[in-house]
Symmetry: C2
Subunit: 418 residues, 2 copies
């Protein structure tokens, strides 16, 4: 089955909104062996939408449309569907009931504008929306499937998980080829270095495909195999994974889409260890990443964001002489911060960050991008120096990732390479 | 001038990477009156890239291509350019020097793979890359402009700012129509409510266009006018803005792309006020948002992330009896946290968050999504109740935005509506 994705919305073309839906849908479809052959974006314009629908139907079996289902005047996808299929709108009572409940739960009153979202094209089966008010639509016509969903990512994802993916999986079972993908997430190693360490890729992959996906958080490796059945495919993936791990295993923090903070959380919870975090340059981002994980209260005791020197001294017992001699951005202060937060909170582990994220704050000896990360437990107290780039927000994200990765390596006893 | 954007990369179709480049480029081009007519994504496949280039050149004057310029085997955009223009690769010494300096600055050695990125198609003027190793390309042929840039957003943005936008602005000056856009950012009011308060849009806009752009942070209003000259366009926008402000001004926190934390930072710095933050449910995210702003150390003194009840008592002097009587997620505790962090740090203002983000933690009386936000200064100590949804990460983002907005309204003396 071949799929074509259409995203609707001026805001996507004019750049007011980042289109995250295509990535999510592309990923979900390729997981169930549906190939996405093209993806396009058109504005909130009836003619553009109609012509894009025709083009998509001429080359794909499945057309997935997102966006333009909101209650306001600039949302015209539903009208386009009515026109394209030459159908009409009818009130759907189940959808109306969903809308009523949605507002009741939030203590708000249903307006006429909201209620009008219960009007659904006659040809469509509505897709219930548990997370918003606009229903989706499932339309089958002349052997093609059309799926229409809201552009709000959270609402679209709910529909995909609850309805679209289960239904499509059922329909595409047993088409002879099994495509399986594996993600290995690395961090702390540049893309070119990773590439060179992996050596001869043809030999490594023997017909499988591999992509390098770099970001400020690290490089993801995506391996794709096509085989006759699931067992063969999984065995091939396993084989390739083992070869990769032999070469760069120390840099791989996760298999699949688990986040670094989830990996760390799992290890801490398993071992019954607790942590406390002292942040200067990362300004709360390390704590925020750690607490993204549900259940993190089991191992995360507290975080202290000490932006001022005074608060470093008062809350973390950083030595004033050390601050004067080495400065706040130093290996010595990073270690004292980590030990200080550990001692103050009585946790097993303390970690810390201190650095200059830019654009201001550099001195002759200390450039923008310089960051120290500290780690202390009952046996080890250490700090590591990093040199990132010039962009404040990227530096913050990199420093946060580096702090979490340092924690992972310490927990797993992975030493630094020389 | 009409533009067509081509994004290259399997990772965009298969959904491993979110395409943020199209939004950025679309926005930058429309700011200089270049209309983006279509945007498409194709995989790392020579034939697809060539056919997309032909299609783009047949309907647009400007073709902007991103992605597939990395050093590894799966990056084939440069080969596609060589083939499409029937040209050849030549070593560019300036680019090689850039690459050498890039690595020297980071204390790394240039490998052969890295050095090969200095090979540039003969027909192209290389676009220097200050933030990475792959150069971009500027190609003019048969009245069309082709711009090729790396897919890494940070590198692409550097090239756009330093070279592409200044050059294109120069070329497109004085084409007779001026398009101007205005963004008004609102938060704390649902899209449908905003829509209804604005009343008759035709009357409000009189031919201008307006879009509603909702996200978990609020709703952005984007107003677009087309006029004969800049003064006319700016006057029209001004007029519309004033009308909108009369109706929903209290919810507008920014004009243009300024972030809520930048708005707050500006007010705090102007007035010489300092703040401290106590976070429970938001886990450091409020501090992280505040410290995204360069110069925030002037007004942000410290943040305390108290995930445990013990740390709330110890660090924020929350009363144990209050915790026992009302629970950690309560108006009373939110107020004590805000006052506690203010008193401990000696700042002018304290703010706090406490809530249940889910998926676990709900009780009979306290559902997932319940959040209290506290605010205290030397005159006022108050807390506000919010009821968000079911998703942990979205709830965190909403609660953080609500805390920052509560701070903004307190600073500006905007009272709650009844």
């Amino acid at each position: 089955m071949k799929a074509y994705l259409i995203s609707i919305g001026d805001e996507l073309l004019i750049g007011q909104t980042i289109n995250t839906n295509v990535a999510y849908i592309g990923n979900a479809l390729s997981d169930i062996n549906i190939e996405v052959i093209e993806s396009s974006v058109v504005g909130d314009n009836l003619d553009s939408i109609l012509s894009e629908l025709s083009k998509a139907a001429s080359i794909a079996d499945l057309i997935v449309i997102t966006g333009g289902l909101g209650p306001t005047h600039d949302d015209i996808t539903r009208s386009a569907i009515v026109k394209y299929f030459n159908t009409e709108l009818v009130r759907n009572n189940e959808v109306l009931e969903d809308i009523n409940q949605f507002f009741a739960k939030r203590g708000r009153t249903v307006t006429e504008l909201n209620a009008s979202q219960a009007l659904v094209p006659k040809i469509a089966t509505p897709i219930r929306n548990k997370r918003g008010t606009a229903p989706g639509m499932w339309i089958e016509q002349k052997g093609k499937i059309y799926i229409v969903m809201p552009g709000v990512p959270f609402e679209m994802k709910g529909m995909m998980e609850d309805f679209v993916i289960p239904k499509l999986s059922e329909m595409t079972k047993g088409n002879g080829v099994v495509i399986k993908k594996l993600i290995l997430q690395t961090t702390g190693i540049p893309e070119s270095n990773l590439f060179e360490r992996l050596g001869n890729l043809d030999e490594l992959l023997q017909g499988a495909q591999m992509a390098f996906l770099p970001s400020q958080y690290g490089v993801k490796l995506r391996i794709t195999v096509k085989e006759k059945d699931e067992t063969l495919a999984l065995n091939r993936l396993n084989e390739i994974e083992q070869k990769i791990r032999t070469k760069v295993g120390r840099y791989i923090y996760a298999r699949g889409n688990e986040t670094l903070e989830e990996v760390i959380g799992r290890i801490l919870a398993d071992r019954g260890l607790t942590i406390a975090i002292a942040e200067s340059c990362t300004g709360g981002e390390v704590c925020s990443r750690i607490t993204n994980v549900s259940g993190s209260s089991k191992y995360f005791e507290r975080g202290i964001v000490t932006y001022s020197n005074a608060s470093k001294v008062e809350l973390l017992k950083v030595n004033e002489d050390t601050l004067a001699e080495f400065g706040a951005v130093s290996r010595e202060v990073a270690m004292q911060m980590a030990e200080g937060v550990r001692a103050a909170s009585g946790t097993d582990i303390g970690i810390s960050t201190t650095g200059i994220l830019g654009p201001t704050g550099a001195t002759t000896n200390k450039p923008v991008g310089l960051v120290y990360i500290g780690y202390c437990d009952d046996k080890v107290c250490t700090a590591k120096k990093f040199l990132f780039g010039d962009d404040r927000i990227l530096n913050k994200q990199r420093a946060t990732q580096a702090a979490l990765e340092m924690l992972r390596r310490q927990l797993l006893g992975i030493s630094d390479e020389e």
